[in-house]
Symmetry: C2
Subunit: 268 residues, 2 copies
Amino acid sequence: MTEFPHPFDRAIALEPQGSDRFIGRTSDDYWNAISPYGGVTVATVLEAVMRHPDRIGDPIAMTANFAGPIQAGELIVRASPARTGRSTQHWQIELTQAGDPQPLVTATAVFAIRRKTWGDTESKMPKVPRPEAFQRYPLAMAFPFLERYDFRYVDSSPFAGTEESVTQCWVGDVPSRRLDFPAIAAYCDSFIPRLFVRKGLASQISTVSLSINFHIDTASLSAVQGTFAFGQARANGFNNGFYDQEGKLWSEDGLLLAATHQMVWFKD
Amino acid sequence: MTEFPHPFDRAIALEPQGSDRFIGRTSDDYWNAISPYGGVTVATVLEAVMRHPDRIGDPIAMTANFAGPIQAGELIVRASPARTGRSTQHWQIELTQAGDPQPLVTATAVFAIRRKTWGDTESKMPKVPRPEAFQRYPLAMAFPFLERYDFRYVDSSPFAGTEESVTQCWVGDVPSRRLDFPAIAAYCDSFIPRLFVRKGLASQISTVSLSINFHIDTASLSAVQGTFAFGQARANGFNNGFYDQEGKLWSEDGLLLAATHQMVWFKD
């Protein structure tokens, strides 16, 4: 299966329009229940910085806050460097839509030129068979973005109704696509909501804030093997309308790509 | 030992100055090596929202990015609501200093009015003796802010030089002080840097981005027992100039207070 450009690249495509301003468009391919899939929104926010002519280095950390419901149509992304040091750069980003004066997404990002240093990975990828050893999880709901991801659970059913919300699965794009920073950002929101795992069914939820810490740089990312990522996620707590989700992603060859954390509004 | 107001309250004190603008001052009590202790800066950013007349609800999630070195003296904190929904409110915050046109801290926060829902804590506090069972860890370095915290390690030395960076300790204010949202935000940066744990010695580091997910609300917080928090922290990975740190905090009676994540620049 080949499509050019990949639906993901079309979904996050931005047209520069003057200083710090980019125009995008929501994607039917990545539509969720009532708004775009959040992972693609996070990737679009990141893409604005990646494409900015003043950007230095690679993404180190980013946070995107989902402030209001994005409508189908044109997106305006404003990304501006708040402060640039010798090797570190801080960004402020906002996503708006015409006719709505207030931001729909507020975000910050830290980029940096990395240097060679001592390194070690404490969170090693669990030893699991390669993605080919597992079946693609059948679509549980009819939201378009789910057709764009190939989830392969390695040890549990996602709608488990268990007492602990841990899940482990391979995730890849459909059709398959190389791993890059926007794809990783999008994968960070792809874990099945922890509430669904606990309750064994889908219910009303909405991510309010998502953070990503990136553990790879451009050079190591361009050398990773395979197009799947291995994801592990869990919740620390559910309390009075909000719960959290922590996730980690590794490449097929076991490189730690990112750790991610989000807070999610829920209704029970 | 009694001091009124508590040095922490003096350190995060803000004077409203027109719409969305607050004036503070760096604190000698919480000075670090060359700038204020980052935890107090995060608490000051949060305090600006807490004190804002338009604020609704409790903090749910916040991210503060350390963009430049704060100098001793006056702080200008601008906190403005980006979007306010029925029960959720998104904030953008910047900390600047006179004579420096660019932000020294960029931050976002999500606040919300919580509702009673089903809840569960998956990350339970480890079973450990109460803080009284342990000695205060002797100050390892002569930075003033360290005198303002009482760390009591329960199972390891902080400068361990081990292969895994996990530490577990009680942390409390000196003099002791009730737990509130700013104190919890400050505790989130109080974990000994993971690099020091791994290397067994202090070296040059600097947090670039810190996020907090809050798991308690005002009502449950006002009912917690004790003034210490129990903290557990670890790193996922160290790679080419940056490493991460993940931490959790519980109250003395075992309530999950917050989970926190930061990315740290380091030199080796």
